[in-house]
C-alpha cells in the first residue's frame, strides 16, 4: 500500500514535469498571438477547475460559488489598482486573501448543510454578486467627464493597467509575460491540489466518503476539514481571477455568467471528478472542443449540454477515469502473465 502510494507520487511528479516542459516549449513552437492567448486562458481555467475539483471532487462539497471567488479575486485586484494605485502584483495576493475571507463566510453559512442545499445556496450567492454588480449605477469616482461605478457596473472595471510586462520585455514577447505567470499559478495550484489529494487530508476525505460512521468515530471532523480545503482552494482561485484581470486588462460581471460556470463544470466532469489530473485533461479537452465548434457557435450551449449528459451517464469517471481503467487492465494482464 505504501509502495503503491510512493509510486503514484513519483508518477505524479514525472507527469507534472513533462507537462510543464511541454508548456514552456509551446509558445516558442507556436508563437502566434492567438495560440498564446488561448493557452493563457486554458491555464487560467485549468487553475480554477483544479481548485474546484478539490472542493467538489475530493472534499465532496457541491459548491457552485467557484466563479464568485474567482470574480472577487479579479475585482479586488482591479479596484486596488484603480482606486489606490496598488500594483497588480501586490493586489493579486490581496485578491487571493479576500477570496479566502469570502470563502470562509460562505463556508460557515453553507458547509453545515448537505449536497443539494449547498449547491443551491452557493449558486444563489454567485447570482446575488452578479446582480449587485450589474445594478450598480451610483457614481463612485469621476474620471474626466465619465463616471466610474464602484464595481464598474455593466460596463466592467477597466483602466487599472496590467502586470507591466510591456516595460520589461521586448514588444513581441509581451504576451508571454502573462502566459508564464498563468502557467506558474497553474503549476503551484496543481502541485497543491495533488498534495492535498495524496496527503493525510485527502485520506481523511476518502475515509469520510467510504465509511462516514467509522471516520467520525475516529475523530475526523467533516466540517473542519471541508472548511480548510474550501478556504485554501479559494486562494488559488482568487489568484487566477487576478491573472485574468491583468491578462484582459478589464474585469466584468460576465465572469459570473451561468454559461461560463457550466463550461468549467463540463471541464471537471469530462476530465473526471476527484481525479488528480482530471482538471487539466478536462480543461484541455473542452478548450479544444470549443475551438472545433467555432463554426457551430449558435449550438455551443447545446453541445456543452450534450457533453455533460453523455459523460455523466456513460463515463462518470471522466477521461482520467477511463485512462485509469485502461492502465489497470494492462497491469492486471501483466500480473496474470507474470
Amino acid at each position: 500500500m505504501i509502495a503503491g502510494l510512493r509510486s503514484t507520487a513519483r508518477a505524479d511528479w514525472l507527469t507534472g514535469l513533462v507537462l510543464l516542459a511541454v508548456a514552456v516549449a509551446l509558445p516558442f513552437l507556436f508563437p502566434s498571438r492567438y495560440v498564446v492567448g488561448q493557452l493563457t486562458l486554458f491555464f487560467i481555467w485549468a487553475t480554477v477547475v483544479s481548485q474546484w475539483n478539490l472542493v467538489f471532487g475530493v472534499a465532496g462539497i457541491f459548491s457552485l460559488a467557484q466563479m464568485a471567488l474567482f470574480a472577487i479575486g479579479g475585482y479586488v485586484t482591479g479596484m486596488l489598482a484603480l482606486y489606490l494605485d496598488v500594483s497588480l502584483w501586490a493586489g493579486m495576493f490581496v485578491g487571493g486573501i479576500v477570496a479566502i475571507l469570502l470563502s470562509l463566510l460562505i463556508g460557515l453559512a453553507c458547509l453545515r448543510l448537505h449536497g443539494a442545499y449547498v449547491a443551491l445556496l452557493t449558486l444563489a450567492v454567485a447570482q446575488v454578486m452578479y446582480l449587485l454588480i450589474i445594478t450598480d449605477t451610483e457614481c463612485f469616482m469621476k474620471q474626466g467627464v465619465t463616471c466610474i461605478n464602484f464595481t464598474g457596473g455593466t460596463r466592467g472595471l477597466a483602466r487599472f493597467g496590467d502586470f507591466g510586462f510591456r516595460d520589461w520585455l521586448p514588444y513581441s514577447l509581451v504576451p508571454l509575460g502573462t502566459y508564464f505567470l498563468a502557467l506558474a499559478v497553474l503549476a503551484v495550484a496543481t502541485a497543491f491540489s495533488i498534495f492535498i489529494i495524496r496527503s493525510p487530508l485527502g485520506l481523511a476525505f476518502q475515509a469520510m466518503r467510504d465509511n462516514p460512521g467509522y471516520a467520525t468515530a475516529r475523530g475526523i471532523s467533516r466540517f473542519k476539514y471541508q472548511l480548510v480545503v474550501f478556504a485554501a482552494s479559494a486562494f488559488f482561485t482568487g489568484l487566477a481571477g487576478a491573472v485574468y484581470a491583468g491578462h484582459f486588462r478589464v474585469m466584468g460581471a460576465n465572469v459570473l455568467y451561468l454559461s461560463l460556470l457550466l463550461f468549467l463544470l463540463s471541464m471537471m466532469v469530462v476530465g473526471g471528478i476527484g481525479r488528480a489530473w482530471g482538471p487539466i485533461l478536462g480543461a484541455g479537452a473542452l478548450m479544444l472542443i470549443d475551438e472545433g465548434l467555432k463554426e457551430l457557435v449558435e449550438w455551443r450551449l447545446a453541445g456543452l449540454g450534450l457533453i455533460l449528459v453523455i459523460f455523466v451517464v456513460a463515463l462518470p469517471g471522466g477521461l482520467a477515469g477511463a485512462l485509469d481503467g485502461i492502465r489497470e487492465r494492462f497491469a492486471r494482464r501483466r500480473t496474470a502473465e507474470g
Binding site: A109, L113, A119, L120, L121, L301, G305
Partner: protein, 292 residues
Amino acid sequence: MDTAIQIVVSGLTLGAMYAVSTIALSLVWGSLRMLNMAQGALLTAGGYAAYTAVVTLALPVWIGLPLAILVGAVIGALMYLLVVRYMLGRPGFETNVIIGTVGIALILENLVLRLYGAYPLQQPIGLPDGFQVGATWVPWQNVLILVVSILLMVVMSAFLERTRAGRAIRATAQHQRGAMLMGVPVGRVYIQVLMIGGALAAISGIMLSTITTLAPTMGYDPMLKAFIICVIAGLGNINGALFAAFALGLFEAAVQYFLGVRFGFPALLLLVIAALIWRPYGVFGRRKQARL
C-alpha cells in the same frame, strides 16, 4: 395605508409566482431525491409552447394551453427515458443528476434560442383589465395567478394523499427499495413525477410570461428563487413551500419598496442563510435521522 396595500399586492403576486415554480421542484425533490436543474428551462419551454400554439398555429386558448402543458409533460418523460433512467441506483446519483439536468437545461435553452431568437416576445394570453384598491391598481391577471397557484397546491396535496398513484409516489419517497419490494413500479413512479413536474413547470412558465415577457433565459431567475424557497421550507415539503413562497414574496416586496429594487434578492438570500444557520434542514423541514 396605500404603501401597505401596494406592498401586499406586489408581494402576493411575487409569492404566487414563486409558489407555482416551487411546487414542481418540491415534488420532484421530495419524491425522487432529485434536484431538477432543468426546471427553469422547462418553464421557458412551456411559455414558448403556449405562444406557438396561440400565435403561430392560431389555436384557441382552451386548446393551446393544455397543449403547452402537455409539451412540458412530454419533455419531463423524455428526461427520464433518455437520461435519468441510466443514473438511477448508481453511486453519486444526487450529484450526477444535478449535472445531467444542467446538461438538459442547456440543450433546451439553446433550442428555444434557435427556434425563437433572443428578442423578448409578448405572451398574447392573459386576462385584460383590473380593479382599484385605494390608490393601487390590481390587474385581474395577478388575481388569476394567485388563485391558480393555491388551486394547484390543493390539487397536488389531494393527489398525493388520496390517490393510488399518489400513495405509490409517497412510498417511493419514503424508501425506494422497500417500495420496490412491495411491488411499486419505481420506474413508472419516476416517469409520472417528472411528467407532473414538467406540466407544472409549463403552467408556471405560461403564467409568468403573461405578466413579464418571453425570453430564452426567463426561467433561470424564478428557478433560483424557487430553489431558495424550497431550501427554506425544507426540500420536498410542499405545504411549507406554499407558506414560504408567500412569506418571502411579501418580504422581498417590502425590501424592494424601502431599500430599492436591487436589494430585493440579496436581502432574501441573507434571510435564508440566517434561517438555515438556525435550522439547517429548513424552517418546516424535519431533521432526518442520518443512516450511516
